[in-house]
Symmetry: C2
Subunit: 392 residues, 2 copies
């Protein structure tokens, strides 16, 4: 067991009709002029933007808008947001969307609260001093960015996808109405469930010490997500299922599922970041395409945890050798991914990287991780390349 710090200051307002409380929450955190940051036109089409604006108007809060955030959000949009906010003298940032929009708003927040180029933080050449206060109205249950301290931005002209973690960027509040997620395409719902599962798994598969209460709560969370992801594949309008999954997404990435561990593995995420940087795939689908190959490659080095996962999360029978049980758990996970329409290889994902591209991704991943990453098994550049090859 390791010492840990746990800090989740985000005020969560969860449930039906909570969007109407947006203005109240912005006011509580002293916002007077807000940037409404969002992605595509769905928040316009569904009327969500109007509901939010009314809530802000009712609270006497001025607002400007910037849409157009894409999945794997672009640095250029961040620059655009910083410029707009400076010009408009915005003092509070509001993300309306999923992880991409929230990450984009966090990056804008860093840009506004610090001198110089915001990309420096994502290259880890310096640390941010602060971040402009921000809140979010969540419309996709997936990334957990609504309570997390991390942001991932893509420098699109260099195919670079980089993460920066800093408590200064944790949202002041998160409005979470599960009804907002009911109109998501099935594929996106499944991608989201995959992402939150992976956030928990990254912290779960470790060879460092661990804490039993963290493990057992993480297992409870994963069982819940797996159960309700299957429900949502058939009943996308099921409110209870939407709510279970939405809250799980936040808890999966706010730090709770890592308390007392060694920091987690996170190799799958880093491998996917390079995939996402090169091919612009949906993050969740990229993760499910990589994970089975990663799991097979590393499980021999982390057998007790893979066995525990098979038994306590996937409900496998306690029969056979530890290797057999571990493998049954991985296979059950693949079966689950297929059941919700997620790929388990890159081919199923629709991409077939060449050997050169694989070597390039592995090289970039090694660079981004300082040469090595992973707790279940420490991976170097050649391991990364091999996992990409296995995942073809």
């Amino acid at each position: 067991m390791f010492n840990f710090e746990y800090f989740t200051p985000t005020e969560v307002c969860f449930g039906k009709g909570t969007v109407e409380r947006t203005g109240e929450y912005v006011k509580k955190y002293h916002g007077t002029k807000v940037l409404i940051h969002y992605g595509g036109g769905s928040i316009v089409r569904t009327g969500l933007l109007e509901r939010m604006k009314k809530s802000l108007d009712d609270a006497g809060i001025a607002h400007v808008e910037l849409g157009g955030v894409v999945p794997n959000p672009h640095l250029s949009k961040v620059y655009e947001g910083i410029e707009l906010c400076r010009k408009e003298k915005v003092d509070f940032l509001l993300a309306v969307g999923g992880g991409s929009v929230i990450d984009s708003v966090k990056a804008i927040g860093y840009g506004l609260a610090n001198e110089g180029d915001v990309w420096d933080f994502f290259e880890h050449t310096r640390m941010a001093d602060a971040c402009m206060p921000l809140g979010c109205v969540l419309t996709i249950a997936a990334a957990g960015s609504e309570m997390s301290n991390s942001a991932v931005i893509t420098k699109e002209d260099e195919d670079k996808k980089r993460a920066y973690d800093d408590d200064a960027s944790r949202p002041k509040f998160a409005i979470m109405d599960p009804e907002l997620t009911m109109t998501l395409p099935d594929y996106q719902t499944a991608c989201g469930c995959t992402d939150m599962l992976m956030h928990t798994e990254e912290r779960y598969f470790t060879n460092g010490g661990n804490m039993e209460i963290t493990d057992s709560m993480a297992e409870a969370l994963m069982r819940t997500v797996i159960k309700y992801a299957r429900v949502l594949a058939k009943e996308p309008q099921n409110y209870e299922a939407r709510a279970e999954v939405m809250w799980a997404g936040s808890l999966a990435h706010n730090g709770l599922t890592g308390c007392g561990n060694d920091g987690g593995d996170f190799a799958s995420h880093m491998l996917e970041h390079e995939l996402g940087g090169m091919f612009d795939v949906a993050h969740g689908a990229g993760l499910s395409a990589i994970w089975p190959s990663w799991a097979r490659y590393v499980c021999g080095d982390c057998l007790p945890r893979f066995k525990q996962y098979a038994l306590n999360v996937m409900g496998c029978e306690n029969k056979g050798t530890d290797e057999e049980i571990a493998l049954a758990g991985i296979e059950a996970m693949e079966e689950f991914y297929r059941a919700i329409g997620m790929p388990t290889t890159m081919k199923e994902l629709g991409i077939e990287p060449t050997e050169e591209q694989i070597l390039e991704m592995a090289h970039r991943c090694a660079l981004a991780t300082g040469g090595q990453i992973g707790s279940a098994k420490a991976l170097k550049e050649e391991d990364m390349a091999e996992i990409y090859r296995m995942a073809r």
Copy 2:
């Protein structure tokens, strides 16, 4: 499932040697002159007070001291603290101890940040506008006050024990070093484990809607506490067990185990408050003395939850009628309490209230709860009296 708000801004610093970071954390939250508030002389004897003072000195933070907080902390001590802090121009409050000391510091914080008599808040005749910032160094895993928004104070001259909940009082930080709890007497360790179990059970036994992820995480938490309370009864120096229980105590009362439910039951707590007010018993022991009688009295009205508890927490067999399974769960809980040296009746607790005293406690409990409390079963004054009688 209900809408909910979740807000746990307390920064947790958990693990061995974290006491030495006290000064760093006070500084982070802008404290320049601190009240060190504590209970008996144990923090002096164990050298903890000196370690903390050194950490504050190293950070250039001035300090004054006020000890003498008792279990079921007294209003008179709160007044004393308010007066001392005003005189000494204290700007940050530091509790060193368990729930009683933290609750006392919260009450002092309300007193300092508001005009008029601080007892008004505990009588709910008005709400606090603010609370002076406070932090804590936890030495007893039990009450969960280190992350909660509640404080319970006893007006000793009127035998009144009252709670006041307000987010303004949530500690800015909690230093949690499991090693500090190793010198606790076994009885106090067991009382603490009982208290945190009860915080979870109060939220678990409801007839309102519920959320599966909350339930399954609560069940995980309770199983962990029950397992490690048994370990600690035999190996009080077991660090891992101390750590599991300490973190469980915070999670049991920071709101996590109640997300999506109807607010919980909390009848056992209110019944115990009157017991504690009249007889000055240890809170955890008072709870275990009341709970089995409460459970038997209400379980017929909340059978699905009692059955689920028996199966998922107490590991009972799924055999027999629902009533039989529910009862087996209650009996397993009684067996657990006895195994860790906790009473399951008031007689075992060493008190034998007269019928007049029972009626008086029931009357006071009804007054304190506005005439009725409970979600598993709504209890009125006559129900409260009957539960006290059953618990004799």
